[in-house]
């Protein structure tokens, strides 16, 4: 399952950051030749916003993937969380905190279900989380006919649109969450045990690690991150959106970001730093293409 010991494997792969710099450099060149600007303030802000949404999901995804599992239900969790948050707020600043707590609690519950299906019911994580995703999809399709609820104005102004220089508040939130996740992975027993379970569950067991508990926790944390992304999107959209998660392809893109960041899909290797790099890379590619796709008719 894991690579042969002789294979050269990098510890923190700088590869994704090299790719990021190259992408930005080439992208800048191409966009400039195309007559656009890649690093204008609005473009940078947009890039960081895209990175914030995807990043929050991807950081959570990193945790489960490092643990040798996977979560394909995140896109629906994101959508659900925007709805729970926006509907509980109903445009009232006073309901801000309970709404966020409720959204996160709903997300965590789904994470718990995912975790239990994967560990206790021993269902392959891919199948289990797709199954849970389909359950949620049905609930959302059936229960919602479009945007619902109204995000508290203070959240829209704050998390949604406030920024420090070119850096949106939401990106700072991502950095904070990523730092926390990095801290958890490297500085807590849970983190060490999670990586061990991902690397080889049997070795972890022989070393006295309680694999089930660790993996369930990882799934809950992953869903919490997706829930947080949902709260952010609710702040950005001003309402709950039942299809925002799937439209944004958060399930697949988050996995892509994690893998680009050097985390092995089989688990046991990788980390959050690479994931943030992967997220920035995807967001940059997105930004470059967006600039290139801007149709300009009879420009001189």
């Amino acid at each position: 399952m894991s690579a042969a010991p002789s294979l050269p494997a990098r510890r923190t792969p700088p590869g994704v950051f090299v790719a990021l710099v190259l992408t930005l450099a080439i992208g800048w060149l191409v966009v400039t030749l195309d007559g656009g600007r890649l690093f204008s303030l609005p473009t940078t802000v947009s890039l960081l916003h895209v990175a914030a949404g995807l990043g929050l999901v991807a950081v959570g995804q990193t945790l489960v993937i490092v643990g040798g599992s996977l979560d394909l239900s995140v896109a629906y969790v994101v959508s659900l969380s925007t709805l729970v948050a926006a509907e509980t707020m109903a445009g009232d600043d006073g309901a801000l905190l309970p709404a966020i707590c409720l959204a996160l609690a709903a997300s965590a519950t789904i994470g718990l279900v995912n975790g239990l299906l994967v560990t206790t019911a021993r269902i392959n994580p891919f199948i289990a989380t797709v199954g849970v995703g389909l359950l949620l999809k049905g609930y959302l399709d059936n229960g919602y006919d479009g945007p619902a609820g109204k995000t508290a104005p203070s959240l829209v102004q704050g998390l949604g649109y406030q920024r420090v220089g070119p850096v949106p508040l939401s990106f700072l939130l991502l950095l904070a969450v990523a730092a926390a996740a990095w801290f958890v992975l490297t500085r807590t027993r849970f983190g060490h045990h999670l990586i061990a379970v991902g690397g080889d569950p049997e070795v972890a067991r022989l070393s006295g690690v309680r694999g089930t508990r660790v993996l369930v926790t990882a799934h809950v944390l992953c869903a919490l991150c997706a829930g947080l992304a949902g709260v952010y999107l609710a702040s950005r959209l001003g309402a709950g959106a039942p299809r925002v998660g799937t439209e944004g392809l958060y399930d697949l893109e988050s996995i892509a970001a994690v893998v680009l960041g050097g985390t092995a899909l089989a688990g046991g290797r990788g980390g959050v730093v690479g994931t943030v790099g992967g997220v920035l890379l995807l967001a940059s590619i997105d930004a470059v293409f967006n600039q290139l796709e801007v149709d300009v008719f009879f420009s001189r």
């Binding site: 945007p147 609820g149 309402a239 925002v244 944004g248 801007v294 149709d295």
Partner: protein, 390 residues
């Protein structure tokens, strides 16, 4: 949240509870009333009444050019936006992901072509149907030195903050097709709207269906405001006339699904006497379902898409095609130029919304145009017609 889910369930379950219980023969008892369920939460009575009134209103503006006409216009001052040309006009587009939008966008491009001297640059960004992307797109466009910003929002609620932010930048914002929940844009352009569409179609189906006949309502998606208003107006009309609506179903715009649904209903009720549709995209599939089942096609409404019009003509259907005209894509360009000239423009800018009936069908059926083309494009006088639209 749960309350909403439950209420939606009830709406849908409503079709079941009201539906006549099947006897041993399987034929339901007739005319027990309307199965239209609860009214949509999108329904606003004042808007509804306003739109129905507009249906009969006489437009002001140049005759024969409905895209420049306005119904019941209230003009707003735009002097503060006055600038010397040529202009850079930017357009944040919700998407190009259906034929209606494609035809519309081609029409808009052609309109831009007619103003070559006055528009130096026309920048278009496609949000691919994603709210998130459109928010970012609008934000991006703000940094591109546009003289005017045209927005066709992907959804009303979620795009409102972004449009507000754009207004605050001080450039004229023009919204069309779907609206936003703010008055900050200089003008909001759209045809009469969904209530009008739904009402016209429902009236027709009611009139043509025999008394006590069973009507099936086919909808594309829930939650899209334009479509919700169409249905809610139809619901009012059906309820008023006491039409037996045996089912309200969502087709997802998927012809296969449509055929299956219609097929199920034909089996279930033996016959369906009228079909109401909130959009024309799958009207062809619905007609086919009747043909394939060997049943006569009942009175039905479609839209101004050519495949349906051709079918209508060839099969001599009893049909009507209210429209949501694609010529409205011309108007934002015209409006932008007027605003930048400091001319007054109507706000809201209500465009007339013609209906294709048996009487004027032949004017719109053009066998040379592709099946997915929309006849009410107002584009026959534009440069590049018809090649550009093929």
């Amino acid at each position: 949240m749960t309350a909403l889910a439950v209420s939606t369930l009830l709406v849908l379950a409503g079709c079941a509870t009201d539906e006549p219980t099947t006897g041993a023969s399987g034929s339901p008892s007739a005319g027990s009333g309307s199965g239209t369920g609860k009214q949509s939460k999108f329904f606003v009575r004042s808007d509804y009444e306003e739109q129905l009134a507009l249906l009969d209103a006489a437009p002001t503006g140049p005759p024969g050019k409905p895209w420049e006409q306005a119904l019941d216009p209230a003009m707003v001052e735009t002097a503060k936006f006055r600038k010397p040309g040529p202009y850079k006009i930017c357009f944040s587009n919700a998407g190009l992901n259906n034929p209606w939008r494609q035809v519309g966008f081609k029409t808009m491009q052609a309109e831009v072509d007619t103003h070559r001297g006055r528009i130096s640059e026309f920048v278009h960004v496609d949000a691919e149907g994603k709210d998130q992307k459109q928010i970012a797109d609008i934000n991006d466009l703000l940094g591109k030195g546009c003289h005017a910003l045209i927005v066709s929002p992907n959804t009303t609620a979620t795009l409102t903050p972004a449009v507000k932010a754009a207004c605050e930048k001080g450039l004229p914002v023009i919204v069309f097709d779907r609206g936003v929940d703010t008055n900050c844009p200089v003008t909001f352009i759209n045809p009469i709207g969904g209530y009008g569409f739904g009402h016209v179609a429902a009236e027709f189906v009611t009139r043509k269906t025999k008394r006590g006949g069973k009507v099936l309502a086919l909808r594309i998606l829930p939650g899209v405001d334009v479509l919700e208003t169409r249905w809610s107006a139809a619901k009012v009309a059906f309820d008023k006339a006491g039409v037996d609506v045996v089912g309200v179903e969502f087709t997802d715009g998927d012809p296969a699904r449509t055929k299956k649904i219609v097929n199920d209903y034909i089996q279930r009720y033996g016959t369906i006497d009228g079909v109401w549709m909130d959009a024309g995209a799958v009207a062809g599939a619905a007609v086919e379902a009747f043909e394939d089942a060997g049943k006569p096609v009942p009175p039905i409404n479609g839209e101004d898409q050519l495949d349906f019009l051709k079918l209508w003509k060839d099969k001599k259907l009893t049909a009507i095609a209210p429209t949501y005209p694609t010529y409205q894509w011309r108007t934002p360009i015209i409006a932008a130029l007027r605003i930048l000239d400091g001319e007054r423009v109507p706000n809201p800018w209500k465009l007339p919304q013609p209906t294709i009936t048996q009487d004027n069908l032949d004017e719109y059926v053009d066998p040379e145009m592709p099946p997915l083309h929309y006849a009410m494009c107002g584009c026959t006088d534009l440069p590049g017609y018809p090649k550009r639209w093929k």
